[in-house]
Amino acid sequence: MNRIQGVLSIYFRDKWIWFLTPLIIISSALIPNLIISSFISYYISLAFILVSSSLVYMFVTGIVSVPQTFSFTISMQVRRKDYFLGTSFMAAMISAGLTLFSLILIILERRGSDRWGLQFVDGVNIPELFGILFVLFMLFFYIGFIISSAFQRYKAKGLLTVLTILILPPCLFMLSLVYEDGHGLYMWLTSISLAEISLWSIPLTAVCGFLSYRLLRRASV
């Protein structure tokens, strides 16, 4: 049997991380908001809430998947390459599922609603939207994945290095907003469309994925 399928079977049997946790997160984000919105005039998009909670879920899943499964998978004599490909395939399937679910909600909410959050997807057609959300979910997964891969490879030093690289640029950017021409930067930031963000995300996703693989390739268990 193909070893990648073997890695997938490891994930399919771990229903908590990959199936029940996203259901719980989505339900806990949506159900209270649905209940509240049925009683009062509600102005935040439920799709927006769903997408943002799904991004957090993908990020956290990326972090927990390596400590949960890497050691076990390698101990079952699976190649590191197959582990990476199998895990990426699993993440892609979950991302596609979350994207579909988000799209259905966006389509439903778009009908006669102008809730806050929907303006981000104004003028974007459905296939484009699928691509945008899918790429964003994968990016967040790989950001989490590179953090845990660095820890697996270099322990605390790796974790500290990756976190510094991931946290420092946004912090400096925010600082520059305060001390430099803050208004201009803010205007530039808000002028970027969702499609542009996702286009920029594609190389970033590829880089995070590739670096995660390189880190895991030399990681011991």
Binding site: S9, R13, Q68, F72, S75, M76, Q77, S220, V221
Partner: protein, 299 residues
């Protein structure tokens, strides 16, 4: 028959600590090997490198004639059961067995079920709720039912009671007879395991101290007891690993060199009592002897 595992000048260092030092070793196929040594001798490190779970600082590892690192054709023929095995937290016993059935090409499901019954393992219990002994039993079941051509057990029976350990030895021997394969067993319970071992590799501070068939080793190592004068005369020019004096008697354990004649015969002719020596006792003497030598050298 060509060697199934070849290690050439293998070294593994962690900073200033060298766990494996310039180790060269060849293992033949279809034998039960005992990898013995004291704590910190480098057994687990060596096994991790054999299975490409750890990287050597220098040297060469060849399994089935190839480098095992990222080598699917080699890795799928190996099964490494270690004492510190981690499992996904939400897994139950049945999940581990199911995954193993997918990943090991020679997996025997019926045999695994039989072993589950033998070890009385609850299939639906979460891994986190298993006792130490049950975890070990799970590892043993995966190792045996995998029927991998190279099966490695690193301290597989921590926490297992004597009955369960007996089941492990019995099942291993039965299955080995039906499906011969290379089995490497790293253990501290030398006396128990010595019944099933065919060949012993003794590691001491990252190097091979002994690499020999058990029967040959048993033949070469023995203890003689007699009056001090007689025993001392007999021991001249022989490799003595342990001496013990009590009253006017001297008890000496020696490892005869392969070239020397029949020392037992010689001892009997001198009317010395020849006492059989257990493998465990011999290993204790050999590893202690090296320590004693080091103390002397450092003085």
């Amino acid at each position: 028959m060509s060697d199934i595992i070849e290690l050439q000048r293998l070294t593994k260092s962690y900073g200033s600590v060298t766990a494996i030092r310039d180790l060269t070793l060849r293992l033949a196929p279809n034998k039960i090997y005992g990898l013995l040594g004291r704590n910190g001798a480098g057994k687990t490190t060596l096994l991790h490198m054999l299975t490409a779970q750890l990287f050597a600082s220098s040297g060469e590892v060849k399994v089935l004639g190839e480098d095992p690192f990222e080598n699917e054709s080699v890795l799928r023929q190996m099964c490494f059961i270690k004492e510190s095995q981690k499992y996904p937290e939400t897994y139950r016993v049945m999940d581990v067995l199911k995954v193993a059935s997918v990943l090991f090409p020679n997996w025997d499901g019926d045999y695994a079920n039989m072993l589950v019954n033998d070890f009385e393992l609850p299939l639906k219990r979460n891994i986190r709720k298993l006792s130490r002994g049950m975890l070990s039993a799970l590892g043993v079941i995966v190792g045996l039912a995998s029927r991998a051509p190279i099966t490695i057990f690193d301290e597989p029976y921590l926490g297992l009671d004597a009955v369960a350990r007996g089941i492990f030895y019995d099942r291993l021997l039965e299955d080995y007879e039906e499906h011969p394969r290379t089995i490497i067993l790293s253990t501290h319970l030398i006396d128990e395991a010595s019944k099933i071992l065919e060949h012993v590799v003794l590691l001491e501070q990252g190097d091979v101290l002994i690499n020999e068939d058990v029967d040959q080793l048993r033949e070469r190592a023995f203890t003689v007891v007699g009056t001090t004068a007689k025993v001392e005369g007999f021991l001249m020019g022989k490799n003595v690993v342990h001496l013990e004096e009590f009253g006017g008697l001297l008890k000496a354990t020696l490892v005869n060199s392969r070239e020397a004649g029949d020392c037992r015969q010689q001892a009997q002719e001198l009317e010395l009592e020849v006492v059989p020596l257990s493998l465990q006792q011999l290993i204790v003497y050999l590893t202690n002897k090296k320590d004693e030598r080091k103390v002397v050298e450092s003085r």
